[in-house]
């Protein structure tokens, strides 16, 4: 039996055969509710995951992964030490590039403190080397030691390093979001399996009657599978809808949406939660099928 056919069976439905399963019951509501609650939580986990993803990306990008080496030395040695430092940096693993800053750039750096009319030329100001690090940065301690040895006037300042763990934290949160989605999916599958098994056990008499009058196992299983898949799908759809409304209504997301803290979806990301009901249907179909086949085999 192909999956497509099976799913077709589920949603095409045999109205007549469906009636053989008692119509209501708490297991039914339990299934719908479980699917709804899980879909709802999934929407939030998804939003969290996406928002932290955006956060991580933004922070990573902003970091630019730069450090500075400052060389303070008598005018005569300045050029020699600068060259030495640049050579060291070139051979250090983990460093993408290094270059001497121009005077204009130094000026720009000092402007916040001194305004724009500081006579830099008259000052014994140090040379500044901008270092761009690679993804995996250099071994800062080792670098510091080598610099002190070869260029005594050089001071390494990895002033942006402190921001890096933030990006790591954001990435971790994104992973956690993904992880909880997987957890939720697993828990949902387990719960629907158990609910279906509970329903089958509770309908032991129905199954016995059906078998007595010559119903095939497949006929019985299908009726249950159809019922549960429908319930899980509808439940998941409702949960997804409520979850999306909740996200939409979160006041914070709209207000500070301009910044990276909004826990909302952006643009086409609003489409992502729409995969939840089909996934729920798929999970429910296979969980129930598994449960039904197993229960029927056991009752044989």
């Amino acid at each position: 039996m192909s999956i497509l056919n099976s799913l077709g069976d589920v949603f095409g439905g045999d109205k007549q055969a469906d009636r053989i399963v008692p119509p209501t019951g708490f297991t039914a509501r339990l299934t719908s509710f479980t699917a709804a609650a899980m879909a709802f939580l999934t929407v939030f986990a998804l939003a969290l995951s996406l928002a932290t993803g955006r956060l991580a990306d933004r922070w990573s990008a902003e970091l630019a992964k730069t450090s500075t080496v400052r060389i303070s030395a008598p005018e005569a040695q300045l050029a020699a030490q600068s060259t030495a430092v640049l050579n060291i940096l070139k051979t250090t693993p983990g460093i993408a590039s290094a270059r001497l800053m121009t005077e204009a750039e130094q000026h720009a750096l000092l402007e916040p403190w001194f305004g724009s009319d500081l006579p830099l030329e008259t000052l014994p100001i140090p040379s500044l080397i901008e270092v761009v690090e690679q993804e995996v940065g250099p071994d800062m301690e080792g670098l510091r030691l080598r610099l002190t040895a070869e260029a005594p006037g050089a001071v390494l300042d990895d002033h942006t390093r402190w921001r890096r763990p933030l990006a790591a934290a954001a990435a971790r949160l994104r992973l956690l979001g993904m992880f909880s989605i997987v957890l939720i999916l697993g828990a949902t599958a387990a719960m629907i399996t158990l609910a279906a098994q509970a329903a089958l056990a509770a309908n032991r008499q129905v199954i016995q009657v059906l078998r007595l009058i010559g119903a095939r196992d497949n006929y019985i299983a299908k009726a249950f599978v159809r019922r549960f898949t429908m319930r899980a799908t509808v439940g998941a759809f409702v949960g997804m809808l409520v979850g999306m409304l909740g996200i939409f209504a979160l006041p914070a997301a709209a207000e500070e949406g301009a910044f990276l803290t909004g826990l909302g979806f952006r643009g086409w990301h609003w489409m992502i939660p729409l995969v939840i009901p089909p996934i729920a249907a798929f999970v429910a179909f296979w969980s129930t099928r598994f449960a039904a086949t197993r229960s029927l085999d056991r009752m044989a």
Binding site: Q16, A17, R19, I20, P22, P23, Q205, V206, Q208, V209, L210, R211, L212, I213, G214, A215, R216, D217, N218, Y219, A300
Partner: protein, 228 residues
């Protein structure tokens, strides 16, 4: 001609002591058998073996010429459509009406249910359940349930009817009436096996049908003599 249901040296136990040992039984087409024996002797057990609810431990059972050990669950389902069964404790789908329950074998077999509706109405009259056809099974009295179960068993006029004490909860008149229904079916060529502890009922049937009476005694099935 092969018997429809045939037990050869069949033995059975539920795990404790044997219920049956070396039982031979032939139900040929068109035969009518009563099955008697004290409570707990194994009437229900024997019948369950005839419709594959239980498998023999030893010996062989052939149903419609096929060895039951060679059947998978789908084969059993198909066989059940050819055998109408009345359980001792009549069970229904409690959420469907009496009429729907009686028509269930037709639906499960994938038949067009409408073609059995005429049959249904006639049957409902026979078992006096016309007034209750829209009731739910839990709303029936004990005797009404038994009658509904018999109606369900015969709705598709199966080749074999197996009825386990179908008159236990019925008064004399109604019991006679159900027995007559079975006798009618038998006259149409159906094979009937009916368990009962009511000797009067068996005696009363003598004029209208030449039934054999089986008695379970000492883990065996015997043909009862003229001692009735």
């Amino acid at each position: 001609m092969h018997p429809l249901i045939e037990l050869k040296k069949a033995g059975f136990s539920y795990g404790g002591g044997d219920i049956f040992r070396d039982v031979d039984l032939h139900l040929t087409k068109g035969s009518f058998h009563f099955l008697t024996g004290p409570s707990g002797s194994g009437k229900t057990t024997l019948m369950k073996m005839c419709y594959q609810a239980l498998m023999p431990d030893t010996g062989t059972i052939k149903v419609f010429g096929k060895d039951v050990r060679a059947m998978d669950r789908d084969d059993v389902a198909i066989v059940r459509r050819r055998i109408g069964v009345v359980h001792q404790d009549c069970q229904f789908l409690d959420h469907l009406s009496v009429a729907e329950n009686i028509l269930l074998p037709s639906q499960v077999a994938g038949r067009d249910v409408t073609q059995d509706v005429a049959n249904l109405n006639q049957l409902l009259r026979w078992v006096s359940l016309t007034d209750h056809m829209n009731a739910l099974p839990p709303q029936l009295s004990g005797g009404e349930r038994q009658r509904a179960a018999l109606a369900r068993a015969v709705i598709l006029s199966p080749e074999v009817v197996i009825a386990d004490e179908p008159t236990g909860n019925l008064d004399w008149d109604m019991a006679q009436r159900l027995l007559n229904l079975l006798i009618e079916l038998n006259k149409m060529g159906k094979t009937v096996l009916m368990a009962t502890h009511d000797m009067n009922l068996i005696r009363a049937s003598r004029q209208s049908v030449s039934a054999r009476v089986l008695r379970i005694q000492g883990k065996q099935v015997h043909l009862a003599g003229a001692d009735l």
